[in-house]
């Protein structure tokens, strides 16, 4: 039987399958379809210091092999999360990754400080949300800013700190190295790619926010490439994501250098997808006589 356990920045996950922030809420809804304890970790809906209502609807558009979304970080705020969501999340064996977004560096520091005193297992700093006007991706597209915010938040983070990187940059390795130098314990990538869809009959964007983040199979080759580049450029463990629809897709990410994978948008198609991915990785390992999932990490045999 394949050993699916994987260690990320000192936290041992039962298996490398994570649910991506923003697609899984706080686990209650998909928890009616499968046991969240089947997951290695749950990255919760992006939290902000205070509750946020998010953007106007429509917030979603279908595109070839994917979707655009412009939710805009609707969430109950970090205190309500700690009070009403975290206790139930901690009933499962899955590790809990608290995803944080802010308008200012101080917001991130306050949240990291507050969440470090709770039962969450890891912190994920989202500096890559394309759907908010202040903060968000603005922190994640300049290397010196990435370094600054990571090193500031590092001072308050008493839990392993994951930095979630944006693909909306010229050189993602530069951002990865800046996060590493700033003291990140792990990296997650990719967040969504900024996109747009126009209704030619109304001549209006489909999204009320005009633009939104692209996810789904359409982004997967970009995500695999970026994971491979980043994993080759830094020593930090990487959580890879972007368009995973099957165990085979997840294995691509592992081979590219991801220590764990996150499933997100694919659940909208198949709500049981995380379980299928987990089981499929195990089957692939058994078939290929791979004992530990870590043997797959970065095992792509690239051409010279």
């Amino acid at each position: 039987m394949a050993d699916l356990r994987i260690n990320i920045a000192g936290v041992e996950l039962e298996n490398p399958v994570v649910t991506a922030s923003g697609t899984f809420g706080f686990g209650r809804e998909y928890g009616e379809f499968f046991d969240p304890g089947e997951l290695g970790a749950i990255a919760v809906k992006g939290l902000t210091l205070n509750p946020r209502e998010g953007n106007r609807s429509p917030r979603i558009a279908q595109t070839p092999a994917g979707i655009l979304n412009s939710v805009g970080l609707q969430n109950p705020g970090v205190e309500n999360f700690i009070k009403f969501e975290l206790p139930d999340l901690k009933k499962h064996s899955a590790k809990i990754i608290a995803n944080m977004s802010g308008n200012t560096i101080e917001d991130y520091c306050s949240m990291a400080d507050r969440l470090s005193g709770t039962e969450v297992d890891m912190l994920e700093m989202n500096i890559s949300c394309p759907n908010v006007k202040q903060g968000g991706v603005a922190f994640g597209t300049d290397a010196s800013t990435v370094h600054k915010i990571t090193s500031e938040v590092r001072k308050y983070a008493k839990k392993p700190l994951i930095v979630k990187l944006s693909p909306n940059v010229t050189d993602i390795c530069e951002m990865a190295k800046a996060a590493e130098a700033g003291g990140a314990d792990a990296l997650s990538l990719i967040n969504t790619i900024l996109g747009m869809k126009i209704d030619i009959h109304t001549r209006r964007p489909v999204l009320a926010n005009n633009v939104g983040g692209l996810s789904g199979p359409a982004v997967m080759p970009v995500a695999v490439r970026m994971v491979w580049q980043v994993a080759s450029a830094v020593k930090l463990p990487v959580i890879g994501m972007g368009g995973i629809m099957s165990a085979e897709d997840a294995i691509e990410f592992l081979l590219a250098g991801a220590s764990a994978v996150a499933v997100g948008t694919g659940m909208f198609k198949n709500p049981m997808l995380p379980v299928a991915v987990k089981n499929g990785i195990g089957e692939y390992m058994d078939q290929n006589n791979i004992k530990k999932v870590s043997e797959l990490v970065g095992a792509v045999r690239v051409y010279e």
């Binding site: 697609t23 809804e29 499968f34 429509p58 917030r59 979603i60 979707i67 979304n69 709500p271």
Partner: protein, 267 residues
């Protein structure tokens, strides 16, 4: 199942639904019965199913379609071909199997103290109102359509309603005008003790205004583009108001049915 003394119940699962029949009943409108015991046993008026319409390349998102009717082991859905998803559904044949989630969403509130409902629907919004109308012996139903060739389900509603009024925008069939005009006549005559509505936004706005004017309880079924369909992804919002503050609620989970005094209908 029992695990370690605690009961674990996974309430929901993917429902495989074999198509019993599919028929085009008007331009772009299809009428489908699918076989599924779970959906048939659980569906309540106002709920919907979230249908996988095909491969991830062309139809990544499921399509939410309201449940129109139920019999012992089958569910009826009607849909209009609007985009690639419904176009793919329209090509299905009897015997094909569809993957659905459901029944999802809340349902219309049917209470003992309100037994004389005024039920108003417009266009494809009439479909969830059929199962609702069947819950009452004294339903007065108002259905608005653009024109004669768009009128569907007239005989179905006639069979279950105490009174049925059909209106068309262009006067090519039934009453010439909007269904809300007939609704107001009934309200002015102090008929009806609750209003249920599903249809285009202007109809819902007019219905909400009438409910306030005549001080009658009113429920509206809302539509929005959806993602997961189960409440996790927060893309299908509806602006609601409570104690002077506006909040976005989830159409798929908190709705699709809302009390009219709860929603702003700002669009």
């Amino acid at each position: 199942m029992q695990t370690g003394g605690t009961e674990v119940a996974y309430l929901k699962s993917i429902q495989e639904c074999e198509i019993i029949s599919i028929e085009q009943i008007a331009p772009q409108i299809f009428d489908m019965w699918v076989k599924n015991d779970v959906l048939a046993a659980q569906a309540r008026p106002g709920q919907f199913v979230h249908i996988d319409c095909g491969d991830a390349t062309d139809n990544f998102l499921r399509r939410p379609i309201s449940i129109c009717d139920v019999k012992s082991n089958a569910v009826r859905i009607l849909f209009e071909v609007k985009g690639s998803g419904t176009a793919a559904l329209a090509c299905k044949k009897a015997g094909d199997v569809l993957d659905m989630l459901g029944p999802l969403g809340n349902a219309f509130t049917v209470l003992e103290q309100y037994r004389r409902p005024l039920i108003i629907g417009g266009g494809i919004g009439i479909f969830p109102l059929y199962l609702l109308a069947k819950q009452f012996s004294e339903a007065q139903v108002f259905l608005g359509f653009r024109c004669c060739e768009r009128v569907v389900m007239e005989q179905d509603f006639k069979n279950v309603a105490k009174e049925l009024h059909i209106t068309t925008d262009d006067g090519s069939y039934g009453y010439h005008g909007y269904a809300v005009e007939l609704l107001e006549r009934k309200l002015a005559a102090k008929e009806g003790d609750i209003i249920y509505a599903c249809g285009p936004l202007p109809m819902l706005r007019a219905t909400k205004a009438l409910a306030e004017k005549y001080n009658v309880k009113c429920q509206l079924s809302m539509e929005q583009r959806m993602g997961c369909g189960i409440g996790a992804c927060l893309v299908c919002t509806c602006e609601t108001t409570s104690k002077g503050a506006n909040h976005y609620k989830r159409v798929c989970k908190n709705g699709p049915v809302f009390w009219s005094d709860e929603v702003t209908l700002n669009g």
